[in-house]
Symmetry: D2
Subunit: 289 residues, 4 copies
C-alpha cells in the first residue's frame, strides 16, 4: 500500500487499511485519520502512537490487555496461523522444548498477576535468550516503569508492521546490518576464499544462520544480516583460516584452524562490522562501522 493512496482514503477505509498494525484497536487509526495527510511513514506512525499515548493509564492498560499472551497456551496453538502471534513467537520461541515452554508460562502468569496485562515484547528484535532476560528484568520493575516499557514495545512492534505494510517516503529506520571482512596482515591483502559461518548462540549451542565464503575483497557478497532488525543476543563468527593459510610454512597442525569471534548484539537497528585481521599466528577483531 502506498502512503499517498492511504492519505486519500475516507475514515473507514483508512482504519480498515491499518487494521493489521494496531490489532483489536481500530479506534487508533480512526482517531489518527483526522490528522491526514501524512508526509512520511514516520509521521504516520508517530501520529498513530500519539493517539495511544494520549489515553489515560487505565485505557492504556485496557489496550495492552487486548494483546495475546506471549508463551501462553493459546499463543502456542495459534503460532502457525495468526500473523501477530507469529511475530510474537518467532523461530526461537516456536522451538522451545516443553521445559522451556513451562518456564515461559510460569513467567507469564506471574507477570500478568503483577501487572494485570500480558508480557509484550517486539520478538523480531530478540533471540530466545534475550526475551528471557527481558522477561526477568521487566518483571522486577515497578508498574509505572513497566507500563511505559510495554507501550514502547508496542511502538516497536507497530513500527515494524507499518513499514512492512505502507510504502512511502520517510520510512523509519527499523533494520540493522552485520558484516565482516577478513584481512591478511602477513601479505597486506584481503583474505579471499575463507569460509565464514555465523551462529546465533543459545548458551553453548549454536544455530547456523549464514554460511558463506569471502570474496576477492575479503568480504561476503551480501552482508551477513541486513534488511531486518538484528536480534539482541550472542553470536559467533567462525572463520576457517587453516585451509586459507595452508601452503605457507606453518606448523602442523596450524596454530589457527578455526577462529571464533564471539560477540553480542545490543542494538537491533545498529550497524555491526566485525572484521578479522589475521596472520598465521595471531589476530585482531573489534566492532567497526
Amino acid at each position: 500500500m502506498n502512503l499517498d493512496s492511504l492519505n486519500a482514503l475516507d475514515r473507514e477505509g483508512f482504519a480498515a487499511a491499518l487494521e493489521p498494525v494496531f490489532e483489536n484497536a481500530p479506534w487508533v487509526a480512526q482517531e489518527t485519520w483526522a490528522s491526514r495527510p501524512f508526509a512520511t511513514v514516520a509521521d504516520l506512525h508517530a501520529a498513530l502512537f500519539a493517539v495511544v499515548q494520549a489515553r489515560p493509564d487505565a485505557k492504556k492498560i485496557g489496550f495492552l490487555q487486548g494483546h495475546p499472551d506471549l508463551g501462553g497456551a493459546a499463543a502456542r496453538a495459534r503460532a502457525m496461523t495468526a500473523s501477530s502471534i507469529h511475530e510474537q513467537g518467532g523461530l526461537g520461541l516456536a522451538a522451545l522444548d516443553d521445559a522451556g515452554f513451562a518456564r515461559f508460562e510460569t513467567l507469564n502468569a506471574a507477570y500478568r498477576d503483577r501487572f494485570g496485562f500480558p508480557f509484550i515484547t517486539c520478538v523480531a528484535r530478540h533471540t530466545r535468550g534475550s526475551i528471557l532476560a527481558e522477561f526477568v528484568r521487566r518483571s522486577a520493575q515497578d508498574r509505572a516503569a513497566e507500563l511505559e516499557a510495554a507501550l514502547h514495545e508496542v511502538f516497536l512492534i507497530t513500527r515494524l508492521r507499518l513499514v512492512a505494510l505502507v510504502d512511502g517516503p520517510g520510512a523509519p529506520h527499523t533494520t540493522g546490518k552485520l558484516s565482516t571482512h577478513v584481512l591478511d596482515t602477513s601479505i597486506g591483502r584481503p583474505a579471499a576464499g575463507v569460509a565464514v559461518t555465523l551462529f546465533e548462540m543459545d548458551g553453548a549451542e549454536g544455530r547456523a544462520l549464514v554460511a558463506t565464503v569471502t570474496d576477492g575483497d575479503g568480504r561476503t557478497t551480501e552482508p551477513l544480516l541486513t534488511g531486518v532488525p538484528l536480534r539482541i543476543g550472542t553470536y559467533e563468527l567462525h572463520f576457517a583460516v587453516a585451509p586459507y593459510f595452508a601452503g605457507r610454512a606453518v606448523a602442523d597442525p596450524a596454530f589457527l584452524d578455526v577462529v571464533k569471534l564471539r560477540f553480542s548484539i545490543a542494538e537491533p537497528e545498529g550497524d555491526y562490522h566485525v572484521p578479522l585481521l589475521v596472520a598465521p599466528w595471531g589476530y585482531t577483531t573489534y566492532r567497526g562501522s
Copy 2:
C-alpha cells in the same frame, strides 16, 4: 635413582635398573653398560638409543614387534595396570567409545599387515585427535620412512621414561609450557580477576583441563600447562571478560562476554604464550613467547 649410582652399578644391576625404559629389550642396557660413565642423562639416553640404531633393519623390526598394540584389545584390558600401556593409552584413549575403539583396532590391523609391527607413538605427546591423524598419515608412508618414524617414537617414549627414572645433570628437555596473560588496553593495566578456562578440544567437544582466575598482574598463578609435554592438538582458552568490564559504560548485553581463543599446539616441548589484549569492544591475540 641417581645418575652417579647408576654409573657405579655392574652390568646386571645396570640393566635391571633400566629395564622399565626399553621394555622387553634388556640387551639395550646391557650393551650400553660398556660405555659408562655417563656425564649427563642426555648422554645416557643417546648411548642407549645408539645401540638400537646400530642394529640392522631386521633386528630393529624385531625390537618394534616386542611393543604392545596401541588400541588392541589386550591393551584395553591392561590399560589400568601396566605402566607402559598406560603411557600408550593416556586418558584420551581410555575414554574412547566403542565406535572409536573399533576404528583404532581397524587402523591397527591394517598398519600391522602393512608394516609387520604394531603402531607405536609417544602418547604423552598427543591428544586423541592427533594420534588418529598420525595413524592415518603414517599408515600411508613407505616402509623405510615408517621404520624411521616408529623408532623416533621409541626415542621419544624412552626419553620420557628415562627422565622420570633417573635424576642427574643434563636431563633432556621433554616438557613444554602454556601460559596466558590478560592486558586491558583501555586502561593500560593487567586485567585482574578474569576467569580463564582451558579446554582440550575433540572436534566440537571440549574437556576442561584448567579453570583459574587472573591475578593482579593479569597472569595465572601457575602456567596453564607446565612440567609435561604439551599434547599435540587443538585447545580453547575462554576468558569471561563481561564480568571484568561490568560497571564501565558498555552495551547491554556487553559486546564481549566470553572471548574464545582457539589454537593448536604442534610442539610438545615448546613454549606457548597465548595472551589476550582486550578492550571492551575488541581484542588481539597471538602466539608469544
Copy 3:
C-alpha cells in the same frame, strides 16, 4: 577532447591533437591513425605504444634520446614552464638543494654515458627519494633490461598524458587512493574529531600533504589522496589522539599523544587503506582495502 571526435579527425588533425602525448615524435600518432576508430581510451593508448614497440632497438633508442634530461640544467631552468618538464620535475625535484641537484646531474651523466639516452621515469608516480632509488637501481642494469624499463616509463608517462587529454569510455586505471579510518575500541565507535595529518617523508623530514579531521564515521570527508597516482615513497600519518581521549580517566601526560603510522607506498595505482584501531593504551594498524 572527446574520443569520438578524435576518431573522426583526418590524419594530420589526429596527429596534431595527440602531439602533447608523444612529444617530438609525431610519427607515433600518424601511424596509429590508420587503426581508427578506437573503442576505448585504453585501446588508443595500446595502439600508440605498439607503434613504438614495433620499432627496432636503434629506433627506440633514438626515440628515447628525444626526451629531456631529468635533473639536467636545462630541465631545471624550464621547470616552471614546459608541461613535460613539469611532469618530469614535480615539486620534489624542483625543491632539490644544490647538493641534491649535483647528485642528480652526476647520476644522469653516468647513466647517459652508459646507455646513450637520458634517464626517463614517470615522475608523477614518484617521490624524490624513490626517483633516486630507481636511478641507482636502473643504472646498474644491463642495456637490454634498461631499454625495456625506459620504454615502460614512456608507457606510463604517455598513459597519464592521454587520460588527461582525452575523454571517453575505457580509460585506463592510472590513479590510486589512500584513506584512513579511526576506530575507538574502548567504546566500539568511530573516533570523531581526531586531527589527522599526512606527511610525505624525505628521510627524517616530512612535508605535510593533507591536514584534516575525522568525521562522525571516523573517516575523512575526502580520501587523503585520490584521483592521482600515489607517489612511491614513505609517508607518515599523525593522529592527535590525546585531545580525543581527554576527559576519560587517563594518565598525565596521556600514554598516547600523537600516534605516528609510518608506511611506504609501492603501487601508485593501488588502494591503500591505513586505519587506526585505538584505545587509550594501545593501538593496531594494518594495510586494509
Copy 4:
C-alpha cells in the same frame, strides 16, 4: 653507608651523615635521631620527612627558601659542581639554549614573587618538557596547594638522595623500568635482530637514549631503562623492521620500514612494557606489564 651503623651513631654523627639529604637543614636529622633505631630505609625517610611536616607553615616556607633557584643564574653557574644543583639541573636543563633559559628565569621570578619561595621539583623524574609543564601548572595553583606540592617534591628528592646514600633493608621503590619485545605474528616467533632505538622527545626533536638490537627472544639484553626513575615525558621507540622482513615476499619499498611507537611516561616509578607485535603489513602495540 649502612643503616645499622647509622642507627648506632650519636646525634651529631647521625646529623652529619645525613647532611647531604636535607641540605641546609641539619635540624631535620637532629630531631629525627631521637626515634632511632630504624628498621628500614623507608622508615628512616618517613621519620625525617615527618619532622618537616610537623613544622608550622611559616617554618616550612623558610625551609623551602633554603633551596636553590631552579633555572636561576646561580644554579646555571654551579650546575657542574654542587650535587644538589646537579640533581635540580639534569642533562635537559644544562642543555637549554639562551631563549629557553630566559624562559625559565622569567617563570622562576614570577613563581617566587607569587609564593615567596623558589620552584622546587625532583628533576630526576622529569624531562625538560615536563618540568616546563609542571612549572606552568603549579604556578597557577593557590598557595596552600603549592606549598603541599613543593614539600612533596622535597619528599621525592630526599627519598632519592637517601636511597643513594644508605644501604639497608626496606629501601623505598624509587626506580622504574621500560622494556620492549618484538613478536612476529606472521611466523609466531620472537623477531630477532631488529634494531631498536629509544628517543627522548622534546617537541619534534629526539635525543637517542639507547640503541640496541633484539635477541633471540625478541627482547633486549637489558631493559631499555632500569635502575633509575623514568623521566616524565614523551618517548619514541623506532624499530627497523624492513631489514628484518627482507627476503620474504613483500613490496618494494616494504610497507613498513621503521615502526615508530610514540608514547608518554607519567609514572617515574612504573613498569612500562611497550611491545611490538608485527607482521609485514600491520602491527599492534600497547602498554603491557
